[in-house]
């Protein structure tokens, strides 16, 4: 490969994954009325679901031999094994990650960053974004 002018360039690679899951927003420390006031319909006792879109953006130098920040196949394997298989078509409240934590999408994004940080090259996550619906989305940085 030539192209030496760009071989060390830092770029960003983003990938979007779909997963469907149910949750209920409820905190034991609050009264029934307080839960209702804080979470509204999301506090309904039997839960509800969303088609979540999880966007993972990885940052790093573009490999001079591959032209890639990260191989899509490797990223897919990590995210599918650790995130999609674990949370897709599940009830988030029953996952150990939410045993002591309310599964708001803010918290869900923090949980996923924590899971992926261990499995991807150190410092490579630029951001993780979860779209709960077409109109609501949440984003957190990788560090």
């Amino acid at each position: 490969m030539s192209g030496s002018t760009t071989k060390a360039a830092k770029a960003y690679f983003g990938r979007r994954y779909a997963l469907s899951a149910s949750h209920r927003l409820h905190v034991d420390a609050l009264t029934a009325e307080e839960n209702r006031a804080a979470y509204g319909k999301c506090n309904n006792p039997h839960g509800h679901g969303h088609n979540y879109v999880v966007e993972v953006m990885v940052a790093g130098p573009v490999g001079s031999e591959t032209g890639m920040v990260i191989n899509l196949v490797d990223l897919d394997r990590v995210v599918n094994e650790r995130v999609v298989e674990r949370f897709d078509h599940r009830n988030l409240n029953l996952d150990p990650a939410f045993e002591c934590k309310v599964p708001t999408t803010e918290n869900f994004s923090l949980v996923l960053v924590e899971i992926l940080r261990d499995a991807l090259p150190e410092g490579s996550i630029e951001h993780l974004r979860i779209e709960e619906t077409e109109n609501n989305f949440f984003e957190c940085c990788g560090d």
């Binding site: 030539s2 360039a9 770029a11 690679f13 953006m57 573009v62």
Partner: protein, 141 residues
């Protein structure tokens, strides 16, 4: 500071191949993308410029002007082309036309035109290969 983004689409074919590697290694690393007959995508190019709104026009840049710059610098050479065979930066033994490199090449084509003409600066180039796969370049090393 305002960030203004314009989108455009182009359709192109490409394949991934590193001439320095064996066929086996190319196939192992690049999978189906190493098929030398090529394959294609409907790409989306997103160009973001940053600047202050002009006191008279209220524009960061004129969107029609930005559209024309994108058309002239990128789309005219990329749309309905085979990137490996018809775009100079991706010729044999040069850059592999990955989504990352397409974003970098688009930046390098756009940045001088935007710097020269506008009161704004190029902030970000994002290229979607599919709605689920994209790469971004923000300049620098």
């Amino acid at each position: 500071m305002i960030f203004l983004t314009r989108r455009a689409t182009f359709s192109a074919s490409h394949y991934y191949w590193n001439e320095a590697w064996t066929a086996e290694k190319n196939e192992a690393v690049f999978g189906r993308c190493a098929n030398r007959n090529g394959h294609g995508h409907n790409y989306t190019l997103e160009v973001t410029v940053a600047g202050e709104p002009d006191a008279v026009t209220g524009f960061v840049v004129d969107l029609k002007w930005l559209k024309d710059v994108m058309e002239r610098e990128v789309l005219a050479g990329f749309d309905h082309r085979h990137l490996n065979l018809e775009v100079e930066e991706f010729g044999q033994g040069k850059l592999i036309p990955t989504t990352e490199n397409i974003a970098i090449v688009a930046w390098k084509r756009l940045e001088p035109a935007i710097r020269k003409a506008a009161g704004a600066q190029l902030s970000r180039v994002r290229v979607y290969e599919t709605p689920e796969i994209f790469a971004e370049y923000r300049g620098g090393e």
